[in-house]
Structure formats: structure tokens, C-alpha cells
């Protein structure tokens, strides 16, 4: 009997300890929570605090001879063949600039950022994708339009280990836009149309809002980046990824140059 009482006492003590431990746990996790919140608040506040953010801009260059864009045979679908020139979508850009390079902050940004509520658009027109390389944040809505008088199917094929899901949906002429999003970061996620085998584009899903795609001159501009030390990465669909370390002062501006190809290079595939 006494023993049993002792046990009750013991378990009460245990309960008390557990309660204390729990209280501690709760308070700890609460603290953590507030930390996270403040972090989030910080990143959310970043655009507001214009005095602190800076800009990283630059150029992606290509050394070597740019191949002339390959002709493609669109004859299997006369609707496509009617429209414009038949060259592959892989555009290299003007002069030394390399177009369609996805430049993003790969490391160094540890805050959290919500996906923008605005959507980005992929347009299928002339049986080609516009744009050919797209940057989007994880969770951000992608609107896919079909402006052709033919049926396309949109078929992203994420890498097997990316955690993103594969899908494949038909979109007839005049069909309403599809709205989709990808949940996990992945670079150069290929998208294709099974009915028009030449159609190919790449979606880049970023974990933060600091990314850009180079224009025809190979230029890019990443705005509103909070100060810090970052790893900036530039990735091209066939020539892979390069990284550079960048330090950004408050209100700073940095210029970064990436160079793809190289003297002995044949200029990609």
C-alpha cells in the first residue's frame, strides 16, 4: 500500500517534472516561433526598408563561336508551320551575351519569403514557348496559355529526386489557361509538348525571390536583395551551372560576370 502511494507520489513528481519540462518546451518553441516570425517579418520588411537593400546585376558572356540556330521540321503540324521561322528555341543571344541563363541566389539567403501572389505566364504561340527559360518561386502560380489554333499538351518532367510531381495535360485551341505551381526548388526543369517534339522550355523553381533570366544581351538584374554574403549561381540548359561568391553591402550594388563556353569550347550542344 505504502509502496503504491510512493508510486503515486513518484508519478505525480514525474508529472510535475513533465509539466515543467513541457512549460520549458512550450516557452522554448514559443521563442523559436517568435524568432521565425521576426525573421519572416524581416524579409517581408525588406522591400519596405529600401534603405538597406541592394542590387546585383551583371552579364553572362559566351566565349567561342555561337552555333547558328538549327532548323526544325514543323511540317507535321501545318498550323505551326504557317507561323514564322522554324528554328530551335535555344537562343544564344546577341554578340557575346548569353541569353536564357537563369541566375539565382543559391546560398546565403536564410530568411523565408512567401511566394508572390502574382502569377507568371507561359505562352504557347507558333508552337514555341514564350519564354524559353522561366524563373518562378516555389508555390508561385504559373499561368499557361495556348494562343495556337492547335492542341498542345504541357508535360513537365521534373528530375526523379527533385520532389516535384510530373504531370501532362492537354490544352486545346481556345481552351482557358491552366494554372499550376511547383512546390520544390529545381533548376532547369524541362517542359515539353509530346505532340510537337521540338517544343521545349525550362522552368526554374527558386526557393527565394532573388533570381533573373538573362536577356538577349546576356544581362541580368537582381533587385531588392538584402545585404549579405551570397553564392550566386548561373545555370544554362546545356552548359550547366557556375557559381560565384558575392558580398553585398547595405544599399550596395554589385556587378558580376559569368563566362560560359571558353576558348576550346565548341559552344555547347
Amino acid at each position: 500500500m505504502k509502496h503504491a502511494n510512493g508510486r503515486v507520489m513518484f508519478s505525480r513528481m514525474l508529472a510535475l517534472m513533465a509539466l515543467m519540462a513541457l512549460a520549458l518546451l512550450v516557452s522554448c518553441s514559443k521563442n523559436k516561433g517568435t524568432n521565425e516570425e521576426s525573421n519572416a517579418a524581416e524579409t517581408k520588411a525588406t522591400p519596405v526598408d529600401k534603405s538597406q537593400v541592394g542590387t546585383v546585376e551583371g552579364t553572362v558572356n559566351f566565349t567561342g563561336t555561337k552555333p547558328t540556330p538549327k532548323k526544325i521540321d514543323m511540317s507535321q503540324d501545318p498550323v505551326c508551320a504557317k507561323k514564322g521561322e522554324n528554328t530551335v528555341e535555344t537562343v544564344m543571344g546577341n554578340a557575346q551575351g548569353l541569353q536564357n541563363v537563369f541566375v539565382y541566389v543559391k546560398d546565403g539567403f536564410n530568411g523565408t519569403a512567401d511566394a508572390p501572389t502574382t502569377s507568371v505566364t507561359i505562352d504557347q504561340e507558333g508552337c514555341r514557348y514564350h519564354p524559353h527559360v522561366l524563373g518562378v518561386m516555389a508555390g508561385q502560380t504559373i499561368q499557361i496559355k495556348n494562343d495556337d489554333n492547335t492542341t498542345h499538351n504541357i508535360h513537365p518532367t521534373p528530375a526523379a529526386d527533385s520532389g516535384n510531381r510530373e504531370w501532362n495535360e492537354s490544352q486545346g485551341p481556345g481552351a482557358p489557361p491552366l494554372e499550376k505551381s511547383f512546390g520544390r526548388p529545381e533548376v532547369m526543369l524541362p517542359v515539353k509538348c509530346n505532340q510537337h517534339p521540338w517544343m521545349k522550355m525550362y522552368i526554374n523553381v527558386a526557393k527565394n525571390p532573388y533570381f533573373a533570366v538573362t536577356d538577349a544581351d546576356g544581362k541580368f538584374n537582381i533587385k531588392d536583395l538584402p545585404p549579405g554574403d551570397y553564392t550566386l549561381a548561373a545555370v544554362h540548359e546545356s552548359m550547366g551551372e557556375q557559381t560565384q561568391k558575392v558580398h553585398l553591402d547595405p544599399k550596395g550594388a554589385q556587378t558580376v560576370t559569368f563566362t560560359f563556353g571558353g576558348a576550346g569550347s565548341s559552344g555547347g550542344k
Binding site: A18, P78, W167, N194, Q195
Partner: protein, 1128 residues
């Protein structure tokens, strides 16, 4: 009278204090010891339980608040608010009615209660009266009923029933009088009323109940964890927890002696195993601490889906995990890790983050399975082990129930045939006797008829036996066809190989090809020379036809495209890509080009057929004697000498790719370029012609069991030389021969660290290579266990010869299979699980229903490497999938077979598997039957009827389809429906023929899907409809897009409450569809199933055509566009 007490009276004068003290000290000591023992020494699980309750309670507190937050969040959502509003509205609407019914009901209830009180009594009394009337008029003396009296009493009773003898006190009206008959009527009437208002109330409450259910469902559907109320329930359970043994006790209901089959007390410590919340080690660690042994012991079972199919209440824990389930006194004992327990716990390898040998437990009951398919990926190791045992040819030397069973079954079939033939003979004799008896003039017709009947029955028996013999004959033919050897046929080496290369290879295969499946035999030069000489001298001297040279470049393309690399690999080491069978990197150094061309064209083609009856390779001379052409194949499979079934094909699993002669030559030419040195540079090996070496060679071939994997002249009937391994995991440790390593093993000495390994195997250059094969690294302690034995044996099979002086014939024979640690881990897992279990038979997974077909099918699937190309289970990797040429074009891969049985008609499947070109045996079969647009080729496997049957049944069973399948005839399309179907089929929003092949070569250049004309015979209509609705859910990643149809829900038809599906085309529709209420998917499927070649051509010709004809066809495009815009 008082007596003087003597001075020295021991009772008064002697003190007992000391004995009492000692006794009480002993008693208290015993009490303390008992308490200590009770709480700690003998009950270590109590500490676990205290700790668990402590930690779990803490966890539950956070869980409940989190769940509460989730629930609040859900309840604040707009959807929930809407549902709540719906509910309130429903309550408001129905409230008045409900109240009214309830009011009426209360009244009826009160009346019923009042009537019932009286009626129950009245009924009992009436029953008693009736009984006394029935029995009272019976005169026991003369055993007769006094009829007059009886009639009178019955009439009295009936009159009594009419009298108003009963008073009922209603709530408002006291003393209402009823006769019995009236009372009964009233009672029944009230009961009917009650039933009526119950129904009415239910109907009135239905809207609000449903609304409430929806509200609750909304929350339960969206809560990822348990609801707060459920968690509080668990909390209460553990608030008043008192330590107790938790056990699973499975009673034996089958055996002769009643008792327990399984007593597992594991959950006395592992309390979290089956908790409804998922417990991780981190969750069970007090905050701020690192996970300790308690945290790891308290986690949930990591594969709850396995527990669902292996209910712990029936299976316990130890049948899968091993260990001593009854033991509770220490962890070592419970885990069975002490010398008096034979089955220690299987462990995961936490250090390396793999599953260790834990899946050995699967094998104990799943020995009949070749492949265990789980959604969670559990079973990967044991599957690998099972597969390695086959792939590396272990079964060539070691018998293992289930593996390579064809030869055994062949013998059994032959024996049964003999038995049946004997029976037929006996019966024939009996029939004669019976007929003679029947013809005896001295017996009656009846008797004669009896004898005739017996004779007739025996006749029928004989005819049944004859039928069975025929079946067995066919089965024997099948089995002979299914016999496969892991290695090549060595009777053909004269035609096939570079002679000088042979001794180099035999000496140490891995020197030539590191990734070969052939093990290293540690042969000395004499052994190599004599073995090579025997093989060379006994080989068939025939030569093969000379083949013209081909185009290596084209051969290379074909090699990459046709799917050769699903099975074969090229490159070595980190450069190696391709499948698990022969690596072809240096094939150009060893083979003859002519033989290679012939092989690629038809790998099943033998130089000479073998007659197992005569035990002879049959040559053209034997055929010539009988005037027969020298032809042997599936249709010419009888021996010309004695009519017995021949082994007419190579015993390889390599299928026929149906290549043209030119393609075969091109591939061979390419392969001949795969070499690192000139074949002519091999040292001369003319010693192989020395007849003196032959006999010695024969001895060594027998000693090393070469015939386990190869066909060798003179060794056709050679048995297996190794130990049977079916129940190897049950062997007591003493029966495993550790030899001189027994003591070192017990002391935990690692023999592979010994630099003297070279004495055991001269070819070992670096003992670290052997050491690195151990799955869990060098022994860190006692490895005198089955696991330790197997791991060391597989890493270096002759390690147990260490320190022994033996002659060449006495040495351990097992060759070095040069496995990597993962392969060893898989094989050891397989062997550890290979146990004779004490559990009764019903625990063995030997299903008799459709699952049996699945079980049998996997053996065939694994035997031929089907999974190298096809995906059978979700998430399964194929070899081709990982090849670079398919990275960007997964649609060029062979089809996924995830729901093949639901997709295809089994009769068609049988036809297809027999001839994947679907050409019906025509010579021009250089193509795929279903998917001509794929470069990768579905080859012809020459499957026997037996294996074809198994495969077809397997696919049907995998999709739970009935066998045989009786196709439903689709409703014939009306003319209008044809028009409508055609408009869908050729709609611009679903241009089917844009991707699907039509048989027109120009069109099919860009086709990426099968021809619709196959559909009728090949597909099941239900599947076809599900496919066109959502192909991605049937074959994820397929080129066929989803979203062609959309579901326009229709209102429910009572009594159903769910809206009906109504599938409508997701694009512009022509006006003819107005008012069409059937599913448009069904219409399209019916159209496709009734498609004729003419119709397909007609539709195809109206499709917008390729650019050169654009000018002529642009009007067609315009017309279509106009048509569709008109429909919009």
C-alpha cells in the same frame, strides 16, 4: 499455588534479542531485496514504462495543443463556416417539424408504456390459461383427450378474451377498460404509431444530421493528426498508467496440444510501437537532450502499412524480428543476444543508415515469393538477396527450394507418367476380368450389370489417365524448354571462342572482366591447363557459317537503341552502364565474329540439339540416317533416332531480337571493336590439344562443379555440388564449420586483417579489398554468429581453411563470387531468413487464390529480367530508365506495366507474349507489334506454354482481373453516333491520329502511340475509358495527356446522394451533341473499338497534312476551324 521459577529457566532468563534481530534483519533484507528485484532487477521494463509515460505525456501535451490549433484554424475557415451555416439553416428549417414529431412521440410513448404494463401481464396470463386448456383435458389414464370438455373450455377462454377485464391508466385518463382482444389491438396499433414517428423523425432530422456529418467530416478529412478529443483520450489512458506486462499471446488452435504459438512481450518496453500518433526518436527525446536508448525504443513502428497486413495480434513481433519474445529480465535476453537463444534479433545498420539484415524476417514466411512488392519500399534488401541468389548462379551449386526447379519438376513429371501408365495397364487387366464375370451365364442380369458398370468406370478412369499423361507430356516439353543455365554452353567453344583466351579467362575471370558474374576459382596452372584441355577436346567440332562484315557505326546505334543495354553493360568500374548480365567491354578479344553474328540473330540456336534420353548431341548424320532435314526448333523438337524430346535450344535466357541479318552483322561488327588488345596477342595455348590433360581436367571440372552453370560434354546429368540452403538460417551455430577460426571469432578477431591471406588465395594483391567487402566493416566484437559466418564466407569463401594444411582435393571448393558489401548484405539477409520456422503452415505465405498467380509470375518475371525494361510496381527503377539516351525522352522507354492486366485482354496478351511482332510467324518480323514507333525492341522469349500461362495469369491477378476473361460486346453505334464519335476522334482539341500510328509509313514517322485498330482485340473497354479520362493516373509520365475530358457532375439519382459523374469532351462540340446525355468518353471508346481500317483511313486523310501538301489541305484546316467555331 505459586510455583517457584527456577533461576536458570531459559524462558525467563535467556535473551532472544539477538536471534530476533538477525531474523528481522534477514526478513527486512529479504523484503528490500524483493522490492528491489520487483522494481529493478527482474523488471527492467518498468523503468521503460515509467520513462515512456513521462515522455509520451509531454509529447501528447504539445500534440494536443497543436491539434487544437489546427482544428481551430479549420473551424475558422470559410468553408467550415459555410458548412456550419448550412447546418444551422437545416436546424432552423426542420426544427418546428422535429419538435412537433417529438411532442407526438412523447404522447404515443406514454400511452404505449401504460398499455404495455397491463398487456404484458395479460398476455402471460392468457398464455397460462391456453396451456392449461390444452393439457388439462388430456386424460392420462386412457391417453385420450376428452373432446367435449376441450371444446367447452376453448369456447370459455374465447369468451373471456372478449370481456373488458383490463384497466389501463393513461396519463390523462384513468381506468379505461379493455377486453384482451381490444388490448392486444391497441398495443399493436401504438407500436405501429411508434415505428411511424421514428421514421418520420429520422426523415425530419436527416438534413441537419447530414449537414452535421459534413461539418465533422470536413475537420477529420483535413486534420493531418488526431483530433484534440482523441489525443485527450490517450492522455487519460496514460495518466492512470500502472506498470504492467504488455504481451501478444497467440493461442495455438491447430496443434494437438493446446498452448501458445507466440508470446511476445516486446511492447512492454517498446510501448510506442502501435500508438496512433507517429512517434519519432526526436519526439520522444526530452527537450534539450540528445536521443538516447529510450527515445529509440519508444518510436512508432516505422512501417505501419506492414502491420496492417501482418496484424500484431496474430503475428506478434518475433516471427518477423526474431529475438526471445518471452524474456523480460534484460534487453540482451529479450533480444535473444545470448548463447542459449538461437534466433537473435535482426538489426538495421544504424551506423550506415541501411536496413541491415532486418528484412531476413520476411523470408521466413515468404520463401515462396521471388519478389515482395510493397508501396513503402520495404523488402528492397530481401528482394535483392533473392535476386542475387539467382543472378550470380548460387543455385548452380546450392539447391534452394523454388529456384531452378525445372529439372526437378521434369523428373517428377516423368515419374508420374510412369505411375499413370502402370495404372492404365492394371485397369485394363481388371476390365477384362470384370467383363468375363459379367458374361458368366450363372449370374443374374442385375449382377452382370453391376460388373459392367465397374468395368465402364475403369474405362473412364483410363481415359482420364490418358488425358493426364498427355498434359504431363506437354508439361515435360515445357519444362525442358524452361531449363536455363546461368553460364554459356561450353560445348560450343570451338566455334565460339578465341582458343588462346580460354586459359587466361579460367585462371581468373575478374582479371579480364571485373564485373563478370563468374566467380574466381583460385586455380593453379595445372588445373587451368587441364580444365581448358578437357573443354576444348570435348567441344563440338562443327563450325558456323561465315558472315559478311557489317557496319560498326550502325551497329553501335542499334546496340544503343534496341535495348541491348537493358541486360548488357559496357565499361568497367565507375564507367559501367547498363544491365546486370554479361559486360561486353572486351568481347572483341574473345569471340569469333561468325559465331557472334549467328548468336545475335538467334541466341537460342544450338550447334547441335541434345537428346537427354540418349545423352548425346545429335548431328546431321543422325538426321540423314532417317532421311530427315537437319532442322530442330519448337516445331521439330523430336529426336530423329528415338522420338524423344530434344533440348533443341540454347539454355540461355537471352531472347531473340528479331533483327535482320544485316542488323545482326552490324551489331556484331560493332561489338568486335570492343577490345583493349589484339586477340592475336594472347599467348599460344596449344597444350589444350594434349590428350593426356583431358582426364585430369574432367576430375577438376567435377570437383569444382562447373556443370552447375555450364553445359559441358559428359556432365549433362551432374548434380549440384554444394549444400542445400533452403533452411540454412536454422542451422545451430555448431554446425557451421568455423574450423580454426572458432576461437578468434568468439574473441572478435578479424581474420581479414591478417596479412597472411595471400597463402589462402595467391591472387589477392591487397587484403583491404577483402576487408572492404564486409557490409558492416571489420568485426568489432564476437562474430561467432550465423551472420558473422555468412558475411565472412561470402567475402572470402575459403577463409575457413585458414591455418589448415590440405591437399587440393580437400580444400574448400566454393569460389570467390567477388561481391560488394551491399550484395553480401542482401545475400546474408536472405540466408539468415532461410529458416525452418516453428510456426504452423498457415503462417507461410502460400495463398491459393489470385495471389498464387502473382507469386508464380514473379519467378518468371525475375528469371527473364523483365524488370530491366518494364516498370511493374510504382516507383520501381528499370535499367533503361537510368541510361543517358532516355534522360530527355522517357516516352521512348518501354511501356509501364503497372495495370497491364486491367488494360489488355488475356487472350491477346498470350498471343503477344508468344510473338511480340504480332506478324503471326511471318518472316518479316523485324518490328514491334504494338509500338512500332519505339526503337527499343520487345524481343521474343520463346516462352513455353507453361510460362506463358503463368505470365498471363500474373498480369491478370496483379490487376485483380478474373480469368478467363469474357469480353463484353460493345453496343453497336448508330449512324448518328458514328458521326459524333468521329467528330471527337478527329477534333482539333483531341487530334488522336496526330500521335497514334495508323499503319501509313509517312504518318507513322512521327507517331508516338499505338494503332487504334489493335484496340478491339487488345484492350478492355472499361480500361480504355479510364485511360482517356486520366492516363497520368494509370501510367505516370506517359506522353498521352490528361484533361481531354471534364466531369460535369449530374444531380444524384435517389437513393444515392452523391452527384453522378458525367464525362464531357473538353473542347468545342458539334451541334449533334445537343441533348446527348451519355458519357462522351464511352461514346469515343465504342467508336474506337468499332473502328475499321477504312474509317481510320478516311479520318486520317481529312487530317491537316504535312507542309508539302499544305496548300491543298489548308482548306480542310479552315473547314475544321469553322466547324469548331460554329460549335462554340
Amino acid at each position: 499455588m505459586a510455583t517457584q521459577i527456577p533461576d536458570d529457566d531459559p524462558i525467563t532468563s535467556k535473551s532472544y534479542a539477538l536471534p530476533y534481530l538477525i531474523a528481522s534483519v534477514v526478513l527486512i533484507g529479504t523484503l528490500l531485496w524483493a522490492l528491489w528485484d520487483e522494481n529493478y532487477a527482474q523488471r527492467p521494463w518498468k523503468a521503460y514504462q515509467d520513462e515512456f509515460v513521462h515522455r509520451y505525456s509531454a509529447f501528447l501535451k504539445t500534440a494536443v495543443s497543436q491539434s487544437g490549433k489546427d482544428q481551430d484554424r479549420l473551424k475558422n475557415s470559410a468553408e467550415y463556416k459555410q458548412l456550419e451555416a448550412d447546418y444551422n439553416a437545416a436546424v432552423a428549417t426542420g426544427d418546428a417539424q422535429v419538435k412537433q414529431i417529438k411532442k407526438e412521440a412523447a404522447e404515443v410513448d406514454a400511452h404505449l408504456a401504460a398499455v404495455q404494463a397491463v398487456f404484458t401481464d395479460a398476455k402471460a396470463r392468457m398464455g397460462a390459461d391456453t396451456y392449461s386448456v390444452e393439457t388439462g383435458t388430456f386424460d392420462q389414464d386412457n391417453g385420450r383427450v376428452d373432446e367435449k370438455e376441450h371444446v367447452k373450455q376453448v369456447s370459455d377462454l374465447n369468451q373471456d378474451k372478449q370481456k373488458p377485464n383490463y384497466e389501463v391508466d393513461y396519463p390523462g385518463e384513468k381506468g379505461k377498460k379493455y377486453s384482451y382482444v381490444q388490448l392486444e389491438e391497441k398495443y399493436n396499433e401504438l407500436r405501429l404509431e411508434k415505428a411511424d414517428y421514428v421514421t418520420r423523425l429520422a426523415a425530419a432530422m436527416k438534413p441537419q444530421n447530414e449537414a452535421k456529418a459534413k461539418m465533422d467530416q470536413y475537420v477529420t478529412d483535413r486534420l493531418t493528426s488526431l483530433a484534440p478529443a482523441q489525443i485527450q483520450g490517450i492522455q487519460q489512458k496514460y495518466e492512470s498508467w500502472y506498470p504492467q506486462i504488455r504481451q501478444v499471446n497467440v493461442l495455438d488452435t491447430t496443434g494437438p496440444i493446446p498452448g501458445s504459438l507466440i508470446v511476445d512481450r516486446c511492447e512492454s518496453c517498446h510501448m510506442g510501437t502501435r500508438e496512433p500518433l507517429t512517434l519519432t526518436a526526436a519526439a520522444m527525446t526530452p527537450s534539450g537532450q540528445k536521443p538516447d536508448q529510450y527515445s529509440r525504443a519508444f518510436v512508432s513502428h516505422p512501417s505501419p502499412e506492414l502491420l496492417q497486413i501482418h496484424d500484431p495480434e496474430r503475428f506478434g513481433c518475433s516471427p518477423c524480428h526474431n529475438g526471445n519474445g518471452r524474456a523480460t529480465t534484460s534487453m540482451e535476453k529479450a533480444h535473444g543476444e545470448y548463447e542459449h537463444w538461437l534466433w537473435p534479433l535482426y538489426h538495421t545498420d544504424r551506423k550506415r543508415g541501411n536496413s541491415g539484415n532486418i528484412e531476413a524476417g520476411c523470408q521466413t514466411c515468404h520463401a515462396s515469393d521471388m519478389f515482395l512488392a510493397t508501396n513503402s519500399g520495404v523488402g528492397a534488401t530481401i528482394n535483392e538477396g533473392k535476386y542475387m541468389f539467382q543472378l550470380r548462379g548460387c543455385m548452380g551449386c546450392h539447391r534452394y527450394e523454388g529456384y531452378d526447379r525445372e529439372p526437378e519438376e521434369l523428373t517428377a513429371a516423368t515419374q508420374t507418367i510412369r505411375q499413370l501408365e502402370a495404372d492404365i495397364k492394371d485397369n485394363t487387366h481388371q476390365i477384362e476380368i470384370l467383363r468375363k464375370k459379367a458374361d458368366d451365364p450363372n449370374i443374374s442380369n442385375q449382377e452382370a450389370e453391376h460388373y459392367n458398370q465397374l468395368a465402364e468406370a475403369l474405362l473412364i478412369t483410363n481415359s482420364k489417365n490418358a488425358g493426364q499423361i498427355e498434359t504431363l507430356d506437354l508439361r515435360s516439353r515445357s519444362l525442358l524448354r524452361d531449363v536455363k543455365k546461368i553460364g554459356p554452353n561450353l560445348k560450343e567453344i570451338r566455334a565460339k571462342l578465341n582458343k588462346n583466351w580460354i586459359p587466361v579467362w579460367i585462371h581468373k575471370p575478374t582479371d579480364f572482366r571485373p564485373s563478370t558474374r563468374m566467380p574466381n576459382f583460385r586455380l593453379n596452372d595445372d588445373q587451368v591447363r587441364s580444365i581448358a584441355a578437357y573443354l576444348w577436346q570435348t567441344a563440338i567440332p562443327d563450325q558456323v557459317q561465315h558472315a559478311p562484315a557489317g557496319n560498326a557505326e550502325h551497329g553501335r546505334d542499334l546496340f544503343m537503341a534496341r535495348g541491348c543495354m537493358a541486360c548488357h553493360s559496357v565499361g568497367e568500374g565507375s564507367q559501367m552502364v547498363g544491365g546486370p548480365y554479361a559486360n561486353l567491354t572486351r568481347v572483341g578479344e574473345k569471340v569469333s565474329y561468325d559465331y557472334l553474328v549467328r548468336w545475335i540473330k538467334n541466341p537460342r540456336q544450338r550447334l547441335r540439339p541434345y537428346c537427354p534420353y540418349e545423352k548425346k548431341d545429335i548431328g546431321p548424320e543422325d538426321y540423314a540416317k532417317k532421311g530427315l532435314a537437319y532442322v530442330f526448333d519448337a516445331d521439330h523438337s523430336k529426336c530423329p533416332n528415338d522420338g524423344h524430346e530434344l533440348q533443341w535450344q540454347q539454355t540461355t535466357i537471352m531472347p531473340i531480337l528479331r533483327l535482320s541479318d544485316q542488323d545482326a552483322a552490324d551489331i556484331a561488327t560493332f561489338l568486335m571493336t570492343e577490345k583493349t588488345k589484339d586477340p592475336a596477342s594472347y599467348a599460344d595455348a596449344s597444350f589444350m590439344d594434349d590428350p593426356k590433360l583431358k582426364e585430369t581436367g574432367k576430375t577438376w571440372i567435377r570437383q569444382f562443379g562447373c556443370a552447375g552453370c555450364h553445359e559441358i560434354s559428359g556432365f549433362e546429368d551432374e548434380g549440384r555440388i554444394g549444400t542445400e540452403l533452403t533452411v540454412e538460417g536454422s542451422k545451430p551455430i555448431e554446425r557451421l564449420d568455423f574450423a580454426l577460426l572458432t576461437i578468434p571469432a568468439q574473441r572478435g578477431v578479424e581474420p581479414f586483417k591478417d596479412p597472411g591471406l595471400k597463402q589462402l588465395d595467391a591472387s589477392i594483391t591487397d587484403s583491404n579489398i577483402i576487408l572492404s567487402r564486409l557490409p558492416e566493416g571489420p568485426a568489432a566484437g564476437d562474430w561467432y554468429t550465423l551472420k558473422g559466418f555468412f558475411e565472412h564466407k561470402l567475402a572470402m569463401p575459403n577463409i575457413y581453411d585458414k591455418g589448415k594444411i590440405k591437399g587440393d582435393m580437400e580444400k574448400l571448393r566454393m569460389p570467390d563470387p567477388h561481391l560488394n558489401p551491399e550484395q553480401i548484405r542482401a545475400l546474408v539477409t536472405f540466408l539468415l531468413g532461410s529458416q525452418e520456422t516453428s510456426l504452423p503452415d498457415q503462417y507461410q505465405y502460400k495463398p491459393q487464390d489470385y495471389r498464387h498467380d502473382i507469386q508464380e509470375g514473379w519467378w518468371v518475371v525475375q528469371k527473364y529480367g523483365c524488370m530491366n525494361c518494364h516498370q511493374f510496381t510504382p516507383g520501381q527503377k528499370t535499367v533503361l530508365m537510368d541510361l543517358p539516351q532516355y534522360k530527355d525522352s522517357p516516352e521512348k522507354l518501354p511501356p509501364k506495366l503497372l495495370t497491364e492486366g486491367a488494360r489488355v485482354d488475356p487472350d491477346w496478351l498470350l498471343k503477344f507474349l508468344n510473338d511480340p511482332s504480332l506478324t503471326g510467324g511471318k518472316a518479316d518480323n523485324n518490328r514491334n507489334g504494338v509500338r512500332p514507333y519505339l526503337d527499343v525492341r520487345m524481343p521474343t522469349f520463346n516462352l513455353s506454354p507453361e510460362e506463358l500461362r503463368k505470365l498471363v495469369r500474373f498480369f491478370q491477378a496483379m490487376s485483380r482481373q478474373p480469368m478467363p476473361y469474357i469480353p463484353q460486346k460493345p453496343d453497336v453505334l448508330t449512324a448518328k453516333e458514328v458521326e459524333m464519335g468521329r467528330s471527337l476522334f478527329s477534333s482539333q482539341a483531341a487530334p488522336c491520329l496526330k500521335c497514334h500510328a495508323t499503319g501509313d509509313a509517312a504518318h507513322d514517322k512521327t507517331a508516338t502511340a499505338p494503332n487504334f485498330l489493335l484496340a478491339k482485340e487488345r484492350l478492355k473497354p472499361g480500361w480504355a475509358e479510364r485511360w482517356i479520362i486520366d492516363p497520368q493516373s494509370i501510367s505516370p509520365g506517359t506522353a498521352m495527356p490528361s484533361g481531354l475530358f471534364r466531369d460535369e457532375k449530374l444531380p444524384p439519382v435517389p437513393p444515392n446522394t452523391e452527384p453522378r459523374d458525367h464525362w464531357v469532351f473538353n473542347g468545342p462540340l458539334p451541334p449533334s451533341f445537343a441533348g446527348y446525355t451519355d458519357d462522351q468518353t464511352k461514346l469515343l471508346v465504342r467508336y474506337i473499338f468499332q473502328l475499321t481500317p477504312e474509317e481510320q483511313r478516311a479520318v486520317s486523310s481529312r487530317m491537316p497534312k504535312a507542309a508539302p501538301a499544305a496548300g491543298a489541305k489548308s482548306s480542310a484546316v479552315k473547314r475544321q476551324a469553322a466547324g469548331s467555331s460554329g460549335a462554340r
